[in-house]
């Protein structure tokens, strides 16, 4: 049975990490779920590329931070914060594609 990310994560958010990068945080409620998702390698380069329409070279890092039961993915912004044509100066509304995730854990 698939488990919905929104059932096991208390925080799913995006934010600028400096004006040129966007960082996505998933923080799990239970360490066990964090570990299952982390060990399963579910949140990987391929997933982020498909969710965000980006190529692998735009991915800065995907790291787990066990003290916070968190997995973090950072990507290059297509446009620097505030550049002409850019649509989210703070980068705080880029998390939605993650909300629909489901995992076989």
């Amino acid at each position: 049975m698939k488990t919905k990310l929104t059932d096991i994560a208390s925080v799913v958010r995006s934010k600028n990490s400096g004006p040129y990068e966007l960082t996505l945080d998933v923080i799990f409620n239970e360490f066990e779920d964090f570990e299952k998702v982390e060990r399963g390698g579910f949140i990987d380069e391929k997933l982020i590329c498909s969710l965000y329409n980006v190529t692998p070279d735009k991915i800065v890092s995907i790291v787990a931070f066990p003290p916070a039961k968190a997995i973090k993915a950072t990507i290059k912004r297509p446009l620097c914060s505030g550049d002409l044509g850019e649509t989210d100066v703070y980068g705080a509304q880029q998390h939605a594609p993650l909300l629909g995730l489901e995992f076989d854990i």
């Binding site: 208390s10 925080v11 934010k15 600028n16 990490s17 400096g18 004006p19 040129y20 990068e21 960082t23 945080d25 923080i27 498909s50 969710l51 965000y52 329409n53 980006v54 800065v60 890092s61 790291v63 931070f65 003290p67 916070a68 039961k69 968190a70 973090k72 950072t74 290059k76 297509p78 446009l79 620097c80 914060s81 505030g82 550049d83 002409l84 044509g85 850019e86 649509t87 989210d88 100066v89 703070y90 509304q93 880029q94 939605a96 594609p97």
Partner: protein, 454 residues
Amino acid sequence: MIKEEYRILSTTAILGYGFPISSFDEGMRRNPHLIAVDAGSTDPGPYYLGAGVSFTDREAVKRDLEIMIKAGVGRKIPVCIGSAGGSGGKPHLDWNREIIEEIARENGLHFKLAVINAELPKDLVKNALAEGKVAPLDGTEPLTHEIIDETTRIVAQMGVEPFIEAHKGGAQVILAGRAYDPAVFSALAVEQGYDKGLATHLGKILECAAICAIPGSGSDCMFGYIGADYFRIEPLSPLRKCTTVSVAAHTLYEKSDPRILPGPGGHLDLTNTNFEQETPEIVKVTGSKFVYGGAQAVKLEGARKVGYRTVSIAGTRDPVMMQKIDDIIAGVKERVADNFRDSSIDYKLNFVVYGRDGVMGALEPLRKQSLSHEFGIIIEAVAGTQELANTICSSARSTMLHFGYEGRRATAGNLAFPYSPSDFKAGEVYAFSVYHLLQVDDPAAPFPIEYFEL
């Protein structure tokens, strides 16, 4: 002998965001060694840095500072403000200094104020560039003399050193230009010999004050204690708790890698950090290390002016128009370009379509599968003067309003305008142009300090 804990009262997430006086009083009851606040961020975008304008409101900043300075000066507790005016350039610093002078005058307060400048002369940056001391950050293009010339303002993020120097210089209130966010909290603890890793990590958490608590808030105080090999973090409102998860989660905030956090003079290594629930409200943190290394460097931020903006806000509820929106936008752009072909106006015309990809732009995975029954449309024109931006926006707006597209039934007009006038002059437009690392021999040297006896 066991050293006393160093105690820090952080008043609010950003100076001017406010805090309950009851929380502040709770903090003062804990006899802080320092009252500090971070005022800055690049988050609000390049405009504020370039234009020399604060993104926080003057009255709100004055309210927060008046409480902090009256309490601090009265009890001889240093008051430190980092990244004055949000962007920490010279005009931001002057703006905030005036507020402090006004507070001193109105309250009959007398104290020594240190003002630390963080705006760099362009020649300094050019010379450093020529000596190969400037490197790109986060994949930016290498800096050039041309970019420096085009840039309106360049600031550098100071580390702890200038704060320590100002404190040694006898300042009771320290107003700093652009600063590495944690430095305003960690500097005086580092001066007293407390561990830099712990102080920096605590500073990183305190810079957003109560955002690290549950429930989080951008407008409440937070209290930090540094011991020999730990720090503790405590909310000051009975409404809030710090939990191991809320504090650890905050450590992730706005950073690419939560384990290694680069800053002036080295990096913070949180690989072996441990978060422990000391009481239901307080979290104790151990194991955070500061690793000195590499060349001394400070981060540069700069913005250049790209023109003036005019926007028009409209919407459509017509399903045929919505289906054809890409063709319509392309058609309008073409008409406007053709219209001004001979006048050689240099402009940018951009359309944001809410309901389709207005929030995520190129990152939007559902661009082609929008289920919206209506679109919000922003027509944005940027050109060399406000008048030219108005002209382009007006032309695009009227062209779009009456644009004849394939399958059109609604021949009276394509757009619903919520306002009259429909177009808004948005003023100067800036873009980030400098985001680089500057190598320095002396990390205090780029940040001259002026003292004022108020």
